[in-house]
Subunit: 282 residues, 2 copies
Amino acid sequence: MTASALYKQILRKQSFLCVGLDSDQRQLPACVANEAEPLWAFNKAIVDATAACAVAYKPNTAFYEAAGSAGWQQLEKTVRYIRRQHPDVFIIADAKRGDIGNTSRRYAEAFFETLDVDAVTLSPYMGRDTVQPFLEYPGKWAALLALTSNASATDFETLPVNGGGTIYETVLQKSKEWGTVDNMMYVVGATQAAMLTAIRKIVPQHFFLVPGVGAQGGSLEEVARYGMNDQCGLLVNISRDILFGDSSDSFAVAAAAKAKEWQRKMSLLMVNLRACYQSKIH
Amino acid sequence: MTASALYKQILRKQSFLCVGLDSDQRQLPACVANEAEPLWAFNKAIVDATAACAVAYKPNTAFYEAAGSAGWQQLEKTVRYIRRQHPDVFIIADAKRGDIGNTSRRYAEAFFETLDVDAVTLSPYMGRDTVQPFLEYPGKWAALLALTSNASATDFETLPVNGGGTIYETVLQKSKEWGTVDNMMYVVGATQAAMLTAIRKIVPQHFFLVPGVGAQGGSLEEVARYGMNDQCGLLVNISRDILFGDSSDSFAVAAAAKAKEWQRKMSLLMVNLRACYQSKIH
């Protein structure tokens, strides 16, 4: 999918919502917990309930690997289901992979051929050759970690490097030359929204995948104010707030309502910001 | 497993060989390629052929994920087999994971409970809370990326940080406080052997997991000269040279011979270096 195709979907749905399928087996509602494939049963219900409001889904591999190969199977089923039912939706495997070149090639195959998602989150630590194989698949994306939403982001990411800037800024500066706005996006945590202005100066046109809004305390309004560009440029991920707001038999109805609530907020922010942007350029 | 139990095994086998189970489906010998579970058939033969000379096995998850859930199943079978047949052997999942705290907890569960390996390789980029959950399992280890063996290691790992040292040295300095020599080791690439002296000054007692010897061109002798400590402190990983030296029906016999060859070299290096160390302290 190109950046402009993603933007078109955002305009059509008036939403830049990414639903994080962090389907934690220990938190599933009782009505699906006893299914033979509980992660899959839960995901199917969540996808059916939220697809009208979501432009992307982001399963985090940790929650599937915790259930072993049976979990991986349910991840495969989930991706196939989204592909079949909602072929225009963008699917991101939140896997945070990263390895030397020939091994990264196998990861790219795992995610872009075998599993067939649109994007994979990657760690930049080992440098360019860990990312390059993912950029060789037309229409597929690398979502590179830049500034994350966790407290320990200050351990390394925000350290100043000799010659100016922090480690995460150096990651942005270097890596923006590796791909294009059609095959690279960046993970930028919402808990760091104030830093988005400076980040937008380095990568004005790239999409940002933004975790940390909702349960982690980041503000959607701030993310939109500081991070949105003229093609929206944002995929804001919400997981727990949509997935685990209601543990009764009506969990999917509650998830649909939550997703709709986020979509409405996003729609309003898009109107305001597009108007603001239009007034600036005319 | 404690560091001293690992050292005892190293002394007993006169070897610090870790066999990297980078079982690339495209490179398997014809005689196993058509098996229903080719990765498992290959791994079983390799483990049987090399266990006398190896103290550790390191399957890299990329090669299993490339085959989807069926690949993950064969990884599970491989780990169970090693556990049953060679209960003293150390098993490292080379997964290079790393995520925020609650997600890392699920990765720790995936690798230490569901899959049941002894160690997992982790990326330090997101900081301490990505590593912490792995340190809470008695007898299990986090193997943290420090300086890797790929060419792009110079993109970020070796950049100088304000206040002194490089990024990878900062990773070593900070992270050595997070765990102990019994639950943390470091990935240090053999292609950077000359840097091992400086690295040993920062973390004199920790085990190093050393990739890059063999096919990637690193020198075993240099790794031993600059990296060995009084408890050996090294697990040197060899993958392709042992796995794919012979693609005939006799691949396992060839792998056994190669493993024996590496073990002999290691045994010699241990004798020399132990003698040298003994003469220094007496």
